[in-house]
């Protein structure tokens, strides 16, 4: 029991990171912290893929003279290289959005921002006083 638990400890770490990341994304009200959570969530998936690729006693996939060499699978690494690029792009876009939100709203707390939005929304619907101002700055 214990040996099998420790034997797959990579997966335990992946699992913990995944849950930490997802919790941050869902549970935090701060826009910046959500981005951090997302990055952790994505990183856990990278680790998952890398773990799939490794085989016990496996060497890097470089052609070898001896016949009984065990190779590790290089493909997951390549896939994750792509996924890392995507993850960086997502994080960068998210951070730049947070920056813009901060300059427009003066806050990156979800509660503050949605409170301001709610006021705006009702003004828009009921009185229409914000329209002309906002449409063309």
């Amino acid at each position: 029991m214990i040996s099998s638990t420790i034997g797959i400890w990579n997966y335990w770490i992946v699992f913990c990171l995944m849950m930490i990341g997802l919790f941050l994304v869902i549970g935090r009200k701060n826009f910046l912290k959500k981005i951090v959570g997302l990055a952790i969530f994505q990183t856990s998936v990278f680790l998952l893929y890398i773990t799939f690729g490794k085989i016990k006693g496996g060497t890097p996939p470089i052609l070898n003279e001896s016949i009984d060499t065990i190779y590790s699978n290089p493909l997951p690494h390549v896939l994750i290289l792509t996924a890392i690029v995507v993850g960086v792009a997502t994080t960068a876009l998210g951070l730049s959005l947070v920056l813009r939100i901060n300059s427009e709203y003066g806050s990156i707390e979800e509660d503050d921002v949605s409170a301001q939005d709610l006021v705006d929304y009702h003004d828009d619907i009921e009185t229409g006083k914000n329209f002309d101002l906002k449409f063309k700055k």
Partner: protein, 496 residues
């Protein structure tokens, strides 16, 4: 020359907008960047028509990217199923680009317009790549290309209304979580089978019926894509993103973005996992079917209580997506065909409605809410005439495209012993008349102040084309219906 073109069509369709987006960003002039975008979307549309003709001859084209033979290399598959979303995406994006010419400079700073067009083409390229690729991981890359580009496009609405930023942020976070869930699913399947090619995957999971990793992988994949397709409880990002995006972007996204993901759902359910029948039947019955029914009613009811028209249409999109997934959930050949028919018809209906509403926004220079519409019907006859026709089509009145899709959907649900399903569909369509009538009543039957000068032909030309399509496919639906039945045939074959 022509031979080479025809042979490489599957990749050219994706590469045309992708490469052009690099050039568009270099052109500072508003007109020329628009012209190049129009040219490239037109070429893409042309290529997809060519591809459609090729499909009629060969019925299945497998393209090995870089001559690396699948399943090792990346494969692009075009068959009678994939061609439907390809035609939808390329056609609607062409119309939306024509429409964007006047609208775009109104809502976006002059200096960033060429960048917006570049993102626009990137989003289209991502969506087209999504439906052409036959490789599960490549699909993830295209998913992210399209969604990152559309997030940036939505955020461009901040020039008009700062809420666009929050809408874009939510879209980004929820979309990225969805995409990551999809990657986890693909990873589990890869660990299980050692392949990423979809056709190869189908064969290799055939005898793994009750494997737990397979079930988990399937669950992750389907939930990830359902987030992107805005299937009911995962639709939270959609109304805001559509409502606060720049008008032209709303048109593009509303008509195309979710269609590609819905196609992927069909592909996962009926093509990749076609051999795990137990798993799929349980998913259809206990997950997709109830969620679709909820979507139909929740979307419609939210739309009835909504006062902002763009949001109203977005909520109605959630309901319409519910119809499409309901059609998939019934799972017979006729119902899947009905799903594809509605996918096509909903694209032209929602495209038309969004074009009409956003051009109204262009004239009245303010957010289009229900109170702002009073009496405008008499001042903008062309726009409102088209709006009414598209609304009738959405509600499913005879002689319009919407009627055809409702007809086939109800026929399919009755023939699979689901008379109660047919009744629910009818009730939900009847409810959709409530919110459409609310708009039409305000437009025609109330007095309003005079604001509008004259309608601009560059804006209503694409509206007229799309309304004509709505009527045309209502009168003679054979093209869509035959295509959809071929697609359903290809997807579930002779199984049912």
């Amino acid at each position: 020359m022509i031979d080479i073109l025809i042979k490489n069509l599957p990749i050219i369709v994706v590469l045309c907008p992708l490469m052009m987006s690099l050039f568009v960003v270099l052109i500072p002039n508003i007109f020329f960047s628009w012209a190049l975008t129009t040219l490239s979307t037109f070429l893409t549309f042309l290529f997809s028509i060519l591809l459609y003709q090729e499909i009629q001859i060969h019925s299945h084209i497998s393209y090995a990217l870089g001559k690396w033979i699948p399943p090792i290399g990346i494969e692009y598959i075009i068959d009678k199923v994939a061609i439907i979303p390809i035609i939808i995406i390329s056609g609607i994006s062409f119309l939306a680009t024509i429409f964007a010419y006047k609208i775009m400079p109104e809502e976006i700073e002059k200096k960033s317009i060429s960048k917006v067009y570049s993102l626009w083409l990137l989003a289209i390229a991502g969506l087209l790549g999504l439906v052409t690729t036959g490789d599960a991981f490549n699909l993830f890359v295209f998913l992210e290309i399209s969604s990152l580009a559309s997030v940036a496009l939505v955020a461009m609405g901040a020039h008009k209304d700062k809420q666009a930023l929050v809408a874009a942020y939510n879209y980004l976070i929820i979309g990225a979580v969805g995409a990551t869930l999809y990657v986890i699913g693909v990873g589990l399947l890869y660990g299980l089978t050692g392949t990423l090619n979809m056709a190869d995957l189908t064969n290799r999971i055939a005898d793994l019926n009750n494997n737990r990793a397979l079930i988990a992988g399937f669950g992750f994949m389907i939930v990830g894509i359902m987030v992107k397709a805005a299937v009911f409880p995962l639709h939270i990002w959609l109304p805001r993103a559509y409502a606060y995006a720049p008008s032209a972007v709303s048109v593009l996204l509303a008509a195309t973005a979710t269609k590609a993901s819905l196609y992927i759902i069909a592909r996962i359910l009926f093509s990749i996992f076609e051999n795990s029948e137990n798993l799929i039947n349980n998913t259809l019955l206990f997950v997709i079917l109830p969620l679709s029914l909820l979507a139909m009613f929740a979307g419609t009811i939210m739309a009835i209580y909504e006062k902002d028209i763009k949001r109203l249409l977005a909520h109605s999109s959630v309901a319409q997506i519910g119809y499409i997934t309901l059609a998939f959930a019934i799972g017979t050949k006729a119902s899947i065909a009905a799903g594809f028919i509605h996918m096509f018809n909903h694209a032209i209906i929602k495209g038309g409605l969004f074009i009409a509403i956003t051009s109204i926004g262009f004239y009245i220079k303010r957010r289009v809410t229900i109170n702002n519409l009073s009496g405008l019907g008499r001042e903008m006859p062309i726009t409102f005439f088209c709006f009414v026709l598209c609304s009738l089509s959405l509600a499913g009145l005879p002689l319009t495209a919407g009627f055809i899709s409702k007809l086939y959907l109800i026929k399919a649900s009755i023939s699979s012993d689901g008379i109660w399903l047919a009744i629910l569909i009818l009730i939900s369509s009847a409810l959709s008349v409530v919110y459409l009538w609310k708009i039409i009543e305000v437009m025609w039957m109330r007095e309003g102040k005079k604001i509008v000068k004259k309608e601009n032909p560059t804006i209503y030309i694409s509206l007229i084309i799309i309304t004509f399509l709505n009527i045309y496919f209502g009168l003679d639906a054979s093209l869509v219906v035959n295509g959809s039945f071929d697609a359903a045939d290809r997807l579930i074959g002779d199984l049912k």
